[in-house]
């Protein structure tokens, strides 16, 4: 059923009793042409683009819990493509462009709100880096501009730009096309879209093993039995190492807690997204009115989906320093996710030592913004058994050759 104001009106007369389920809950088949392990945004997007762009219909997404229950439902929903390296700019920009038409394409309002993303500079070193980045991003065909402190203040009036702060704001870069989207809606929209193209979405089905013979994948062992597959794509966010271990290889990845928190909902006070690496915090305000606040990863490995309290204290110090008027507002909820961090802060999207087994992982703190681009490129990689040029550099082999794509500056990871 197409979503529209008209359908909403029509259904209102029937007390909303005629809406259909956004996705089926099928029993798994014995075999699929391809299985995507992981029902987060990236996995669902992958399945959607495999069906839509590559005509693969006999495919399934397998999720151990509920759709979007990992980092898709735990992040701070920031979308931007202001990355330094050419390769990064291309894949994140592809994602951003897909986001720009995604509500219409999926017929599901993901509430992508392009209210701009500010990255602050607090010292001469930051300014230099910012300038390099703004220039590179612009020349890569992505929008980016530099703001001085007064312009920054005008764009974000609640920001403290006093020169007497401990680390004053000396300038900012602005990507106007950046912003936020409703994270759950991205997962649900892709799930509904994939379902409508015939993809089986199977929740509460945990993968416990990856069956292979002669170095070729044959399917997955799950909590609901063996499911055969000609190809298997793994996109499980923080748990990439666990799945790689099942397949018999290791990953250049460490899984770390990443925390976020929200304030109580308040009337609109902050209409953009502000990120600062030096005074380490990032802040936006959701459509519901909550300030959504995040910062860097915790310092040690962990799969506990919760973080360490001192990290939260630090990010709130930074919050109150940058936005002193929020001091009397209150933290309503804090939580954590598990992110998989690569040594160069760039992802791995491609083939593995096992034939027809593909991995998409290592997005660190930056996965949500890449969702459509990641799914699009990964779908191509699986369908064609060959990476698209967008993700060709993001191989596992780069950690042997040294061809790293260093994005530490862009990743907002404390370093």
């Amino acid at each position: 059923m197409k979503y529209s104001f008209a359908s909403l009106l029509r259904n209102a007369f029937s007390y909303h009793e005629n809406w259909q389920s956004a996705w089926r809950s099928p029993e798994p088949k014995r075999e699929y042409d391809a299985i995507i392990v992981g029902g987060g945004g990236h996995g669902l997007a992958t399945a959607y683009y495999m069906a839509k762009e590559h005509g693969m219909r006999n495919i399934a997404v397998i999720e151990k819990g509920w759709l979007g229950g990992g980092n898709t439902g735990r992040n701070t929903t920031i979308i931007r493509s202001n990355y330094l390296r050419d390769n990064s700019a291309q894949i994140y920009e592809h994602a951003l462009k897909l986001y720009e038409g995604l509500s219409q394409e999926l017929n599901y309002n993901i509430m992508f709100s392009q209210r701009g993303v500010l990255n602050l500079a607090h010292n001469q070193h930051d300014l230099r880096e910012l300038s390099r980045r703004v220039n590179a991003i612009r020349l890569n065909g992505v929008d980016s501009e530099f703001l001085n402190p007064q312009q920054t203040k005008a764009f974000c009036p609640i920001l403290n730009v006093s020169p007497n702060s401990r680390y004053p704001v000396l300038g900012a870069s602005l990507q106007r096309r950046g912003g936020t989207a409703r994270h759950d809606a991205v997962a649900w929209g892709y799930a509904r879209g994939a379902n409508n193209l015939g993809v089986d979405i199977i929740q509460n089905c945990e993968v416990t093993g990856i069956r292979q013979s002669d170095g070729r994948v044959e399917g997955v062992e799950t909590s609901r039995g063996f499911i055969g597959a000609k190809k298997v794509g793994v996109v499980v966010s923080g748990h990439a190492s666990v799945l790689a271990d099942m397949a018999g290889f290791r990953m250049p990845i460490e899984s770390h807690p990443l925390q976020a928190l929200v304030s109580e909902p308040i009337k609109p006070m902050h209409d953009t997204v502000v990120m600062s690496n030096a005074v380490h915090v990032y802040v936006s305000q959701s459509d519901k009115g909550e300030l959504v606040i995040g910062a860097g990863i915790d310092g040690y490995c962990g799969y506990s989906q919760r973080g360490s309290f001192p990290i939260v204290e630090e990010q709130i110090n930074a919050l109150v320093e940058l936005f002193p008027i929020v001091s009397r507002l209150r933290m309503m909820r804090q939580w954590g996710g598990t992110v998989d961090v690569c040594p160069d802060a760039s992802p791995i999207i491609g083939k593995t030592p096992v034939k027809h087994l593909y991995f998409n992982c290592g997005w660190g703190t930056g996965g949500f913004k890449a969702t459509p681009g990641s799914g699009w490129a990964f779908a191509h990689t699986i369908a064609q058994d060959e990476p698209h040029e967008l993700n060709a550099p993001y191989t596992l082999e780069r950690f042997n050759s040294g061809y790293l794509i260093d994005e530490h500056g862009a990743a907002a990871v404390a370093h």
Binding site: A22, G73, Q104, Y108, R132, D287, K288, N400
Partner: protein
């Protein structure tokens, strides 16, 4: 109106201490001991706010921190706070509060129109529309955003200060009800260090709300005695107004204490407003009580509909009648107890029980009081908009899934809901304990403990008060014993006389309605306006997982985080899907239990205390001479010293010329200094640095380059050999701590056989670097015990002597390209040295220069700055320092320099750039492009890392990393700036004195 609903007797309020306050502009009077909610009810005010989505009128729903409805904007101006629960605000003189999320007033709110269109606004309606035309979304969204949110943020900075403290204890008891106080007493009597915390203003918990006899006296007497005993014990810290909000691993618990929130504004001087307690407890006892559940029927959100225990609390604790004519709608005995208490306070009561009968003694008491009793009945709907006027009641059919017979109307102005109890499992769940569903009690109870933790009393599903006392006592003893305090003590629980003790309950999660359609106005989550129909819709549309349903309907996502809604919601979902409640499961309980102010979480670590400021011993001199500052790590370094009317560029031009032509002086104290000592010190350096160290003679200095194991430059600096077994390493200012860590990790983990110690001595030394043609002459004046001639004291050596009478270590190193002496003295002598150098140098025109001039002078020489000209992807060969990479030995990072990518021919390499227009100073960060094109994308082949105006050379200079740069000297390249293209030619990065004759001279 003056407290028309106040009882003449009873309660814990102080009738001799009236408090005047304003609500929505109207002045009222309450008493000390009131909350804002009880004071409003005493004045007959029920309508307090409007709901989030439909702007339905809402009243006071509870008497505690679970309140979803009665949220107010407390105070005005800088002190204002949104979304504060009226039920938790202690009344003080002069309090001002206003309704929020309504306009123009809470009585006539223009947005109640939403309620009319509510059918168009089911859960998730925004996912289905606002998509066309595409460009309109931002307009739609502005309307959505303005409609959302609740209270308003302050627009001024917070005038209050906040505080934090760390505490350790053997036993932490959370809650001071029957179980909590018993536990605290039992543990404290063993001598264990005990912290007891309760969110309320006084201890007692539900004992303050009920009419209980303990040892044949009112419960208050027992509570008072317990508090007296605890307060008298030195090993006990009793914290009231302190909410334990968060429970992390290893028994780390966070609590927020409200120190002055209950006092009139401006009456507390410079006391902190709140304090954050960070507690490490050996053992934790959770005696957090239970929350009463509402019942889900049509219009159950009308003002005047509240939880039964809330009505009971208002009558007993606050001496307020919340109505004159009450209908108590219950499914267990606790509603009867509330009904009896209300009746005794003069309220006319009708009891509507889903069950066929209550405990016989309760039924007898109800009959004694002539209460109307309707068993096997339900309240089907409430009537009345801004206040409940009537309810419709009907008989349940025998299967409890429909109604039998016709309904009847009962007039009332108060509806009390007693839907059973949910143990407050928030902290238990945060401790990672799993919940289990108890069929008999119809609620979740704590499963096995994961940490050193016990639950006791109602928090453990022990609703019988007598058992709660004994369970608390046993928990206290056991926790103390587990913490090592096994002393046998005497603790006896009081004899309990309470009206209701039975746990007989008949759950009915959704009251059947007369209509066939989903119950659209039967609210489950009151704050977020999520109804039973919304949950049905979510399940119908596939959002069947409890997490999906929560997110789709926003149930449990309000400021109360679902304290009154979560269990009802998941039971209704279970009912719809046919799954068991246990299998449906709960959503995760997240910290904090109740919201914490950001100010409290930040404490004192804001403003000047956000990060420590490091200052050199000469800082005051720089300040007095007008220095502008650059933040380098935590250091404040002098950036440049503008004189009257000078711009930054004027100042640096002057400073540069003075240094090149006369003498400049730089405060170089901030450079990291690490002393490395031991028989294997040279071996360590040999492994850490890319170049060789074993042959360096004592008395000499050498520049070293340090790489990480990935082969990329990590730090650089000059190291002095002080003795055979002793070196002094210099690091970049911002990297000192990291380099020391770097040395230590290799020494301790990989090379424990090396006999070396490393120690930071950065703060032990003050360093003044004098540089320029007259530097030697000046130094000779002040230093008579060293032969400063070039033969006796050549470049890259050091010696000791006295400068201005101060013992000094002098190194002949140069970052400016001129003859330079770095004079190191004990930090305390820094200022004396500096002052004397300035005094004696005056005749030579000595000029202090800051980091900016230092950067220009070194760029003229083509010296790199690690972290500016390198970015973590640069190898020594890339910056023309291949000669510093030893082929004779292994060192950290060497192997990585042989990876395929390291050997690529098109790597970026350090070059100099000269702009065609010599006056054009390139911006740092400018990109070098392969070709000029009108539109991006344009291929980039390099970028500018450093760029300055060189006054000495008379043209601009820049350093850049350029693809194949080393082989491009002489070529022309284009730089694409934001507003123009600039052409430059590639050159050797050494612009000035390429052979180093000046600094060697």
């Amino acid at each position: 109106m003056s407290q028309g609903y106040r009882l003449f007797n009873g309660g814990l309020i102080q009738r001799d201490q009236p408090r005047t306050f304003r609500f929505n502009g109207q002045e009222y009077i309450g008493f000390a001991g009131d909350t804002l909610a009880s004071a409003l009810l005493a004045n007959g005010v029920h309508l307090v706010g409007r709901s989030f989505k439909y702007h339905r009128p809402r009243g006071i729903f509870s008497a505690g921190s679970e309140e979803p409805n009665a949220l107010v904007q407390l105070e005005v101006g800088a002190y204002t706070q949104p979304n504060i629960r009226a039920t938790q605000i202690e009344l003080y003189q002069g309090l001002i509060a206003n309704s929020q999320n309504c306009w123009p007033s809470v009585e006539f709110d223009i947005h109640q129109i939403n309620s009319v269109f509510s059918r168009l606004l089911p859960s998730g309606f925004y996912y289905k529309t606002f998509m066309w035309p595409k460009r309109m979304w931002m307009t739609y969204e502005r309307v959505i955003r303005n409609a959302a949110g609740m209270g308003k943020a302050p627009t001024e900075n917070d005038p209050d200060i906040y505080d934090k403290t760390h505490a350790h204890c053997d036993v932490l008891v959370v809650g001071t009800g029957a179980a909590g106080l018993s536990a605290a007493l039992a543990a404290a009597r063993t001598g264990a260090r005990v912290i007891v915390a309760d969110e309320q203003s006084t201890a007692g918990g539900s004992l303050l709300s009920r009419r209980i006899q303990l040892d044949d006296e009112p419960a208050g007497a027992w509570v008072d005695a317990a508090v007296l005993e605890l307060e008298a014990l030195e090993n006990v810290t009793l914290l009231t107004r302190t909410t334990v909000t968060s429970y992390f691993e290893h028994n780390f618990v966070v609590a927020a204490q409200r120190l002055t929130d209950h006092l009139p504004l401006g009456s507390c001087g410079d006391q902190p407003r709140q304090r954050l307690w960070k507690i490490r407890a050996s053992q934790v006892i959770l005696a957090t009580g239970a929350h009463e559940r509402p019942l889900v029927f049509k219009n159950n959100d009308r003002p005047g509909v509240m939880l039964a225990n809330a009505a009971q609390t208002y009558v007993n604790r606050y001496a307020v009648r919340p109505g004159h004519k009450a209908v108590v709608f219950c499914n267990n005995d606790s509603g009867w107890e509330a009904g009896l208490d209300l009746s005794d306070a003069g309220v006319q009561v009708t009891l509507v029980d889903i069950r066929g009968q209550a405990a016989p003694e309760l039924e007898a008491q109800a009959r004694d009081r002539d209460l109307e009793i309707l068993t096997n009945h339900v309240v089907v709907t409430a009537h009345g908009r801004r206040h409940v006027r009537q309810v419709e009641v009907a008989r349940l059919n025998s299967d409890a899934d429909g109604l039998s017979g016709s309904s009847r109307i009962i007039d009332c102005d108060l509806v009390c809901m007693a839907g059973g109890w949910n143990p407050a499992l928030h902290l238990f769940s945060q401790s990672r304990g799993r919940l289990s569903y108890d069929q008999n009690l119809s609620c979740f109870v704590p499963g096995e403990s994961v940490q050193a933790e016990r639950s006791a009393g109602a928090a453990n599903g022990t609703f019988d008060l007598g058992f709660a006392f004994s369970e608390g006592r046993e928990a206290g003893k056991a926790a103390a014993a587990d913490a090592g305090f096994r002393q046998r003590t005497k603790s006896v629980s009081p004899k309990v006389d309470a009206k209701s003790n039975s746990t007989d309950i008949r759950p009915l999660w959704l009251v059947p309605s007369a209509s066939d359609h989903p119950p659209a106005k039967s609210f489950v989550d009151f704050q977020n306006d999520a109804t039973a129909a919304d949950l049905q819709l979510a399940v119908r549309e596939g959002y069947r997982s409890v997490e999906h349903a929560k997110r789709y309907t926003t149930t449990g996502m309000g400021t109360d985080q679902g304290k009154t809604s979560n269990v009802n919601a998941l039971a209704i979902i279970a009912q719809i899907t046919g799954a068991s409640i246990e299998a449906t499961g709960t959503t995760t309980f997240r910290p904090p239990y109740t919201p914490i102010s950001f100010g409290t979480l930040a404490g004192r670590d804001v403003g000047e205390f956000m990060d420590p400021v490091r200052r050199t011993p000469m800082h005051e001199w720089h300040r007095a001479h007008g220095a502008c500052w650059e933040d380098v790590g935590q250091w404040k370094r002098a950036w440049y010293y503008p004189q009257e009317g000078e711009s930054m560029h004027d100042a640096t031009r002057r400073e540069c010329i003075a240094t090149r032509s006369a003498i400049g002086i730089l405060d170089a104290t901030t450079l990291g200094k690490i002393e490395i000592r031991g028989p294997d010190a040279a071996v360590l350096l040999n492994r850490i640095y890319t170049n060789g160290w074993k042959s360096l003679p004592v008395g000499a200095c050498r520049y070293g380059l340090m790489c990480a194991e990935d082969g990329f430059i990590f730090d650089d600096g000059v190291t002095l050999r002080l003795a055979e077994d002793r070196f002094l390493m210099h690091t970049t200012s911002g990297n000192a701590a990291r380099v020391l860590d770097w040395l230590e990790i290799w020494l301790q983990t990989e090379w424990p056989d090396l006999q070396v110690y490393c120690n930071s001595v950065t703060e032990q030394w003050a360093t003044a670097a004098i540089s320029g043609p007259f530097a030697r002459q000046l130094l000779a004046e002040l230093c008579t015990d060293v032969d400063l001639s070039n033969q006796a004291f050549p470049f890259m050596t050091w010696c000791t002597g006295h400068v201005a009478g101060i013992p000094a270590r002098i190194a002949r190193v140069s970052f400016t390209g001129e003859v330079s002496f770095e004079i190191n003295v004990a930090a305390d002598y820094g200022m004396a040295l500096w002052s004397q150098l300035m005094l004696s140098g005056e005749k030579y025109g000595i000029t202090p220069f800051g980091t900016e001039t230092m950067h220009i002078l070194r760029a003229e020489k083509g010296f790199i700055i690690a972290g500016q000209d390198t970015d973590g992807t640069v190898m020594p060969a890339d910056v023309g320092l291949a000669r510093m990479v030893s082929s004779a030995k292994d060192f950290i990072g060497k192997r990585s320099m042989l990876r395929p990518d390291s050997l690529r021919e098109d790597r970026h390499q350090l070059v100099g750039l000269r702009t065609d227009n010599p006056k054009e100073v390139l911006p740092e960060g400018a990109q070098i492009v392969a070709e000029i094109k009108p539109e991006p994308p344009i291929e980039m082949i390099g970028y500018v890392t450093s760029s300055y105006w060189s006054e000495h050379l008379g043209h601009s200079i820049a350093l850049a990393m350029l693809e194949k740069g080393a082989s491009r000297h002489g070529e022309q390249v284009w730089l694409s700036l934001a507003d123009k293209q600039v052409r430059a030619s590639v050159c050797d990065p050494r612009f000035y004195d390429p052979n180093g004759e000046r600094m060697n001279g």
